[in-house]
């Protein structure tokens, strides 16, 4: 890949110019690194790439190097595009269309509005990107020429392509581009990848009901999943209907091997689907904990034991009824069933499930009975050892769901990221289109700018709704259900940025109140917009099957919820009664891993994992330094080599920095240092305003069964619908290279030679 069209061969002056306005960047240091690392005979483009990486390697020295690296990379990208003779957005689309990359519709729209669209893209907006964001965009999002593999769009053309792919007019394209180019809002990755292309699969998530308990149905599901995976969708699939090990197979008079061999096949199938080289296929399997194979299911991700019983590519989630948690609390027994004997259980929730479950027990249908806490401990062990086996709660998920008002409409599972809750059945694949508001971009000196937030939400919801019509659906079951329910999932990212900007500790009452108010504003604005869309475009066809049609909004399931905008809620109710809603569901907080990288903000509703850490992605590894902390350290005159080294030694914790004001130490606690109760409380407080769910990761550096079982029981008692990964930390780590050696102190030695090593804390 040779680029020979860079205008200036003088790399030094290029670096110097890119460093303008970055006072803490030493351009000469980067130039020296390039000089020392330059390969003989390297092209100018290779040297520029080396300059990018040399600047990026210094991000730990100062976060401003991220901006420098991004500017140099932007330069590289623009040269690559210009080298193909592409000088405007319309030319890029025309060329892409000739190569079969862009859709005919976008090509026609662009051709008839070329000048107006070309004028929208503003290269100056490139400067909003940090290095990690722009590298991610360059490596994975910019469209490439199918033969040369060179990128044929600049970062701004990419955002405009996404907007124009969803727009009907130039003004609409501008409206969405204005949000995305300022990184105030980003649609989810599938929309960013595919909008305006010849394969516009724009949806993030697909939820498939369990295959029926028969061979053809199971193989049919494999095919569905492969098709949906191919175009970058994440898969959730239940396996609860499939009979358990030892169950009689009538046709052959043999006994079933249970669900594990089927899931092995699914594992291989998912791994085989590569999403256009951009990421691997991914699926999460849901199982209800009364299924008799649940223990083997929980071991599928273990890295020891029989490989024939392992599925390293599948994610696992447990779809837990309240009755199970009650039995755990009561320290009672729990019965395991073969679904062939109790096929109705998976279609029931709440009191009807409780009654049916008790009846099945009374009828002696259980294959086995175990102490509920024994099974619960196994679930916790799986979470601790693999992060998988997500706890998701069946009854809470159904009880408040707008889609479950009518008999037969049941939520059977969540999705790959546990934020989508939609009904499925054998013929219906639930789909969701997602996008996330960057909350950090809606903060002024005095606080959150609620008016701006509301405007962003209104635009976002209209385009999410449009996405439903513009998307290509890989299966008919997905297309049909999305047309009927028209669900969307508007989420957020950068909540931690808001707290840093406003100096609110993550676990403070003020933070909880603000986060809840933000959730309320988003819900209100989203519902108002959906009602407006219903007035102009019509209600979604299944509106009459929803709780909203019955006059019950999601928030009504949570009596006593504080509200700051009672009048708007009243007006909204009146409006919905009149117009209905365009969308059955509107809010879901997705994990935003990749789009938060692009926007350069913290992921969704999460605290930061450390003040210095690296992100590992398909594009490589990226050092992340908390810019707010560094600002504070600079203000205190303490951002020096000693502090940098101390921060690395402490793995990004400032808790032992005795010289740092306590207020700052509190503010900059990492996810490992915050009480997890606070994360759960924040999630529970905003839940009345989240009609689907939230991808809530929990963090525990050194998990024990006791702590985990208390934590997840608390999450359930707080009424959370779902939780996501348990993040934990390795027991040992790589010896640090760039940190000066410190010899173990005498105090450590004394502590370690205590007689009872089991309680020796010094080495834990």
């Amino acid at each position: 890949m040779a680029i020979t069209t860079l205008s200036s061969p003088d790399l030094d002056s290029l670096i110097t110019r890119a460093a303008e306005g970055l006072p803490d960047v030493d351009a000469e240091r980067v130039a020296r690194a390039v000089e020392s690392g330059r390969a003989p005979g390297a092209s100018h483009a290779e040297d520029l790439e080396l300059a990018v990486r040399s600047a990026a390697a210094l991000i730990g020295a100062d976060p401003q190097y991220s901006r420098l690296a991004a500017r140099l990379l932007a330069r590289l990208i623009h040269a690559e595009v210009a080298g193909q003779g592409l000088t405007a957005f319309s030319e890029s689309v025309a060329e892409g269309h000739r190569q079969g990359v862009h859709s005919a519709a976008l090509a026609a729209f662009t051709a008839s509005n070329a000048a107006a669209l070309d004028a929208i893209a503003d290269d100056a907006e490139d400067d909003r990107f940090g290095y990690f964001g722009l590298r991610t965009v360059y490596d994975r999002y910019l469209l490439r020429h199918p033969v040369t593999r060179l990128v044929i769009e600049t970062p701004q053309w990419f955002l405009l392509r996404v907007a124009a792919g969803l727009a009907e007019t130039v003004d609409e394209a501008r409206e969405l581009y204005d949000l995305t180019s300022r990184l105030s809002y980003l649609p989810s990755s599938p929309t960013l990848f595919n909008s305006g292309t010849a394969h516009p699969q724009l949806s993030s998530c697909f939820l498939l009901d369990s295959p029926r308990d028969e061979l053809e149905a199971i193989y049919g599901r494999y095919t569905d999943i492969a098709r949906l995976s191919k175009f970058a969708g994440g898969i959730g699939v239940s396996w609860t209907r499939v009979r358990s090990r030892g169950s009689l197979i009538k046709g052959t008079n043999g006994n079933s091997n249970g669900i594990v061999p089927w899931l092995r096949t699914l594992d291989a199938s998912v791994a085989a689907v590569n999403q256009g080289g951009r990421r691997k296929g991914a699926a999460c399997v849901y199982l209800e904990p009364w299924h008799a194979d649940v223990e083997e299911f929980l071991e599928l991700r273990d890295n020891t034991g029989d490989e024939a019983q392992r599925t390293h590519n599948l994610n696992l989630a447990v779809w837990v009824p309240d009755e199970f948690m009650r039995r755990v609390e009561a320290n009672a027994d729990w019965s395991l069933f073969d679904p062939k004997e109790v096929p109705h259980l998976t279609d029931l929730w709440g009191e009807r499930f409780d009654a049916a479950y008790a009846a099945a027990e009374a009828a002696g249908l259980a294959r086995r009975t175990v102490p509920a806490r024994t099974l619960y401990a196994r679930m916790m062990r799986t979470l601790a050892q693999t992060g998988n086996g997500w706890m998701t709660f069946k009854d809470a998920s159904n009880r408040a769901c707008n889609q479950t008002a009518r008999e037969g409409n049941v939520v059977h599972l969540s999705n790959l990221c546990t934020e989508i809750l939609e009904v499925t059945d054998d013929e219906t694949t639930a789909v969701c289109n997602l996008g996330s508001v960057n909350l950090g971009a809606h903060v002024t000196a005095t606080g959150v700018d609620f008016a701006a937030l509301s405007r962003t939400v209104r635009t976002a919801v209209r385009f999410l709704d449009r996405t439903i019509d513009r998307s290509y659906y890989p299966t008919d079951a997905a297309k049909a259900s999305n047309a009927k329910w028209r669900p969307v999932g508007l989420g957020v990212m950068g909540l931690a940025d808001v707290f840093f900007k406003l100096r609110l500790a993550f676990d403070s009452p003020e933070a909880k109140e603000l986060s809840t108010r933000v959730a309320e504003e988003i819900a209100l604005s989203a519902y108002e917009t959906s009602a407006e869309l219903a007035a102009s475009l019509g209600r979604h066809p299944n509106y009459f099957e929803t709780r909203a049609f019955d006059g019950v909004l999601h928030v009504d399931h949570f009596p006593g919820t504080p509200t700051w905008q009672a009048e708007r809620w009243a007006a909204l109710r009146a409006r919905v009664a009149e117009t209905g809603l365009r969308n059955s569901l509107l809010i879901a907080i997705a994990p935003t891993a990749t789009i938060a990288a692009i926007a350069g903000c913290a992921e969704c509703i999460e605290p930061v994992v450390s003040n210095v850490f690296k992100r590992e992605t398909l594009s490589g590894e990226f050092l992340q330094v908390n810019p707010y902390l560094i600002e504070d350290l600079k203000r205190l005159g303490r951002w020096d080599d000693a502090t940098r080294a101390a921060l690395l030694s402490s793995e990004g914790s400032v808790q032992d920095f005795g010289w740092l004001p306590e207020e700052l130490r509190t503010l900059y606690r990492t996810a490992w240092e915050l009480p997890q109760r606070a994360l759960i409380d924040l999630a529970a407080a905003r839940m009345p305003f989240i009609d689907q769910s939230q991808s809530l990761n929990l963090f525990m550096a050194a998990p024990t069964i006791g702590k985990l079982s208390s934590m997840y029981a608390y999450a359930w008692r707080q009424g959370l619908k779902t939780t996501y990964y348990l993040r934990s930390r390795p027991a040992t780590r790589i010896a640090q290279t760039t940190v000066a050696v410190t010899l173990p102190s005498e105090a450590d030695a004394v502590a370690c030679s205590l007689e009872n090593p089991e309680i020796c804390e010094a080495c834990q």
Binding site: G37, L50, A57, T304, Y376, S610, P730, V739, E755, C763
Partner: protein, 341 residues
């Protein structure tokens, strides 16, 4: 249980076969053993599929580097395992220390298996494979490193018991060689190449497996250093100027051997990776090892590889992109509903 008075005065390198775990003389060794167990990983978890596609993208210079690197890996861990069995296990006379060494031996076996799998995947051609596995004899730059290792393995080959201070110094030199020079320098050189590739978004599978290998190697090194510290506390007289001089010379030789390897690996230089920078990096690492041993540093070089900062911080992986290695095994406890979290 009565404790034989004699045990109170027994030292780590005293000959014998101590079998008594209670009361435990070196609980820190036992803790290291337990920490290692919590970090169990298997080769099957490493996904090398994407690497094969990357290999096709490499320039000839980069491909040469990768081939040399895996050729070194092919035998590196086997040598370490052999020395552990032949020279270390018999002389470190505490059952809790031997527990750790047994665990280390298992880890070396996993590493050997990982690099075997890697070579089989990277080198589909059988002749290339034979060549790579014969590297220790055929490729001069690897042979030189091998000779260095064998010289120190052989140096205490004839010692059945560490009776005299001279015996014990010989043993310490062997231990320091394997911790500071082989695991702590040769492997850290290899590590830098892998990270350099990784910083360019290449060979994700190699980087993943190598990350896990290095987490283990760091533990091995740390264990060896804690053995050395223990001996220093018990027998400070062993650590004389002569030993310091010998260790310094040994590290100089190791740097030279690894720098010669770098010359072979890097050729005329690759973008961001060349012999001169690698030598400075090795000198910098060698100084760190000397500092860790409480000895004066020798080289005074600064680290030229800024990208190595990436391996010093905790990782956060997008689960859909790479396998997450941050989990522990052997998590303990029982269900309770009212613990703090």
């Amino acid at each position: 249980m009565t404790v034989p008075r004699q045990r109170d005065r027994q030292m780590l390198l005293d000959p014998g076969m101590d079998l008594t775990l209670r009361p435990m003389r070196y609980p820190d060794f036992y803790e290291q053993y337990r920490a290692a167990i919590r970090n169990t990983w298997t080769v099957e978890e490493v996904d090398l599929a994407a690497d094969v596609a990357d290999l096709a993208k490499l320039t000839p210079g980069e491909y040469h580097l990768v081939k040399r690197l895996v050729a070194f890996f092919a035998t590196g861990d086997t040598i370490v395992a052999n020395n552990l069995v032949l020279n270390l296990y018999k002389h470190v006379n505490a059952p809790e220390a031997r527990l750790y060494l047994s665990r280390q031996l298992f880890e070396e076996a996993v590493h050997v298996q990982f690099y075997l799998t890697l070579l089989d995947t990277y080198l589909p051609d059988h002749d290339d494979r034979t060549e790579a596995f014969a590297a220790i004899e055929r490729i001069p730059s690897i042979k030189q490193k091998g000779d260095f290792c064998f010289r120190w393995i052989d140096s205490i080959d004839s010692l059945d018991e560490l009776r005299t201070p001279a015996d014990r110094r010989s043993f310490l030199l062997n231990l320091i060689c394997f911790a500071a020079c082989i695991e702590g320098l040769f492997f850290y050189g290899a590590f830098a190449y892998v990270y350099w590739l990784r910083s360019r978004g290449l060979l994700d599978g190699l980087a993943t497996g190598t990350n896990w290998v290095f987490r283990d190697e760091s533990m091995h090194m740390s264990f060896a250093f804690s053995v050395i510290e223990t001996v220093r506390k018990e027998e400070p007289e062993l650590f004389d100027d002569e030993l310091t001089a010998q260790v310094t010379r040994m590290l100089e030789e190791a740097v030279d051997a690894e720098a010669a390897f770098a010359e072979d690996v890097c050729g005329d230089g690759l973008s961001g990776m060349n012999t001169a920078d690698m030598r400075r990096y090795l000198e910098y690492v060698a100084d760190q090892r000397l500092a860790r041993l409480g000895m004066p540093t020798r080289f005074g070089s600064a680290n030229p590889f800024d990208f190595m900062a990436l391996q010093d911080v905790q990782e956060l992986t997008n689960f859909f992109e790479r396998r997450v290695s941050a989990y522990q095994v052997a998590v303990s406890g029982t269900v309770s509903l009212d613990e703090e979290f």
